[in-house]
């Protein structure tokens, strides 16, 4: 789960990290008031869950409160199209008005879990403010990687050494140590998945986060109601959110074959075989380890909300999931929500025979399949009709 920059900066303050003064604004009037309260030149920043805002016109300077109001009235209601939003862009509903900063240098800093080493990794670079993936590709030697053993934690010397490698000096080193210590504590205590600061600026004796992207481990939200409360539903794909509410894992895609599969691996493999058979999947959908009739019905409902869907492939290999419960769901869905497109059903594993019998004895119109190849060929043929 991701949050906005203004929310991330409030969390940074909670952890004793100095960030420039700033206020949230939802109208030009609020932006004007914020600018005059802050004083001097301010930066008006669109609050959307996407990177690349600056280049897309979502971050603008304002020298006076009146200018802040005028910038805000242009920005609120615009669709910000960055390289991370897709071409439809993101609607700007909120702005963050922040004091301008004197920028001597721009650095990059991120914390994440390193899967290979099973440590927390601090990634840093002197090349801040740029696309960090390009820096990694063209000048990998400029990417610093500090490994922190989660049992030992971050030591002060590690932070100071990294500061020296970032060519910081004098009082800047102490400022960086305080910053990184706070960030590491925040990262662990709040179960972050990714914490990225780009740019981290050097301003006189201080290092200051100018932007902050925070993502959280959704599996840990049960112990962080205060983070869950920061969720902005307007920023989420409505179908992914609806799916999540029913414990279904969903990703929207561009094809016309709806997929319902149990297990992420089999769901990806099902997308692969549809493509190999010459068609395109409309979605990735993992109904999870405890699929029952209610969830299967909900999954059908979600798939059918997409008008482009011309057929549905149900591919279930039961382990924990019982095929008979899935079959019951397919039958209920067909009866209750009126499925108007061809449905190919492949069921194997736990209670599969019982499930096949139930489907055969029901009066609903489904196309049974044996194995993945058969299932993929049948749905592709049915959709092509």
């Amino acid at each position: 789960m991701n949050i906005h920059e203004y929310q991330a900066k409030a969390l940074l303050r909670e952890y004793g990290i100095d960030v420039p003064p700033g206020k949230l604004a939802k109208t030009p009037e609020e932006a004007q008031q914020a600018a005059s309260a802050i004083g001097g030149t301010v930066v008006v920043k669109a609050q959307v869950h996407a990177g690349g805002r600056g280049k897309a016109g979502g971050i603008k300077l304002a020298r006076t409160p009146a200018e802040a109001a005028s910038v805000a009235s242009d920005m609120i209601g615009m669709r910000l199209v960055t390289k991370q939003t897709g071409e439809q862009g993101k609607l700007v509903r909120k702005l963050y008005v922040e004091a301008g900063s004197k920028i001597d240098r721009e650095l990059y800093l991120a914390l994440l879990v390193d899967r290979a080493t099973q440590n927390v990794a601090v990634i840093a670079s002197t090349e801040g403010g740029m696309d960090i993936e390009e820096v990694a590709a063209s000048t990998p030697e400029r990417i610093l990687n500090l490994q922190v053993d989660p049992l030992v934690g971050l030591s002060g010397y590690q932070a100071r050494d990294l500061g020296l490698s970032l060519e910081l000096e004098g009082k800047q080193i102490a400022s960086f140590e305080k910053l990184l210590t706070g960030l590491y504590r925040l990262f662990l205590e709040k179960d972050c998945a990714l914490l990225e600061i780009n740019p981290l600026i050097v301003s006189g004796n201080d290092v200051v986060p100018l932007d902050c992207k925070l993502g959280f481990d959704s599996n840990a939200l049960f112990r962080h109601p205060e983070i869950e409360a920061l969720r902005d539903k307007d920023e989420e794909d409505p179908r992914e959110a609806a799916a999540a509410a029913h414990d279904l894992s969903w990703v929207s895609l561009d094809g016309n074959i709806g997929c319902m599969v149990n297990g992420a691996g089999l769901a990806m493999a099902t997308m692969d075989i549809i493509k190999l058979s010459g068609a395109e999947p409309a979605n990735f959908l993992d109904v999870g380890g405890t699929a029952d009739a209610a969830r299967v019905t909900e999954a059908f409902r979600l798939i059918l909300q997409d008008d482009r869907v011309k057929g549905i492939l149900v591919n279930i290999f039961g382990g924990i999931v019982r095929c008979d419960l899935v079959a019951e769901g397919v039958i209920q869905a067909a009866k209750n929500i009126g499925v108007q497109v061809p449905v190919v059903v492949r069921l194997d594993g736990t209670n599969a025979e019982e499930a096949r019998r139930m489907l055969a004895e029901s009066d609903i119109d489904i196309i049974p399949a044996t194995g993945m190849q058969d299932a993929a060929e049948k749905i592709v043929a049915a959709v092509a009709l």
Binding site: G51, Q118, I123, G215, G263
Partner: protein
């Protein structure tokens, strides 16, 4: 290397709710010795024919359990793993899905240097058809005894591969689901090393998916350490790029993690890669033509 599971496996169940009871029963019916269950507040009672204990320590002392399977819900699962490791159970298999990454970082750090092997979390567990040992949640009907070792990051895709093998008349020696979480207890390389040393295993099916670099590391291991043939499948060739990966994640893997790169690394290591998930069994037969079925 001694087998991870055998006829001598004595299995404990941690988390004896609905799922724990169901799968304990299926494992017992398959022929596995299920010697006890840990269910705080129910010590001394018998549920579904299985004796319950208050904690792992007393269960191990009473039953001599040498393996445990964990169904404890996510908030308490890391604690259950640490409890099993504290009693020095050699094999701990965690089925639980959705454990916070931070909890697993702690568990992995705590297990460094420990004699306990953790498989999972978020995995289907292990199967050894010849010894009739089932640890986890796999459907027994699709398995048959034979010479092929199977290792996989995905549960249901493992069943798919095993089903194909059995239908082709090729049985399995040991199947290990290592799970799809970012911080697994056991990696591909650990299982491949075991298969290479296992006299019952003559060929290997390996099933990976996009994300991380575990398949690339496994490919290097196969090229330099393995003599028996390996076939593979990578799920997610058509998955959209970058859908769940943060920027910094892409840096640390040095641009690795796509299915295409994984397939290239595997093929370079001499591994036969199946393009379609429907041809995993056939690909193994092509890679190991002399296989005794």
């Amino acid at each position: 290397m001694t087998p991870w599971i055998s006829k001598q496996t004595k299995l404990l169940v941690q988390g004896f709710g609905k799922q724990g009871q169901l799968h304990a029963r299926i494992s017992r019916e398959y022929g596995t010795q299920v010697v006890g269950a840990v269910r705080p507040g129910h010590g001394g009672k018998e549920v579904e024919g299985v004796l319950c204990f208050e904690n792992v320590k007393s269960a191990v002392a009473e039953t001599g359990a040498n393996a445990t399977v964990i169904f404890v819900p996510a908030p308490g699962a890391a604690d259950a793993i640490l409890e099993a490791a504290a009693s020095e159970i050699p094999l701990v298999v965690c089925i639980t899905e959705g454990i916070p990454v931070r909890d697993m970082l702690r568990v992995r750090a705590a297990l460094r240097g420990s004699s306990t092997r953790l498989v999972g979390p978020n995995c289907p567990g292990l199967m050894c058809p010849s010894a009739q040992v089932r640890i986890g949640i796999a459907p027994p009907s699709i398995f048959s005894a034979g010479p092929v070792g199977v290792v996989s990051r995905s549960g249901t895709l493992t069943y798919e591969a095993v089903h194909q093998l059995s239908q082709l008349g090729v049985g399995q020696s040991t199947c290990v689901g290592i799970g799809g979480d970012p911080i697994p207890g056991t990696q591909f390389i650990d299982v491949l090393e075991f298969f290479e040393s296992d006299p019952a295993t003559q060929a290997v099916v390996m099933i990976g998916e996009i994300g991380g670099t575990a398949e690339e590391e496994a490919a290097e291991f196969v090229a330099s350490h393995m003599s028996i043939p390996v076939a593979a499948f990578i799920g997610g060739r058509t998955a959209p790029v970058g859908k769940r990966m943060g920027h910094a994640g892409a840096i640390i893997s040095g641009g690795k993690g796509t299915a295409q790169e994984k397939v290239a690394a595997l093929e370079k290591a001499g591994i036969a890669v199946s393009d379609s998930p429907a041809t995993i069994g056939e690909t193994l037969l092509r890679a190991a033509p002399g296989l005794k079925r």
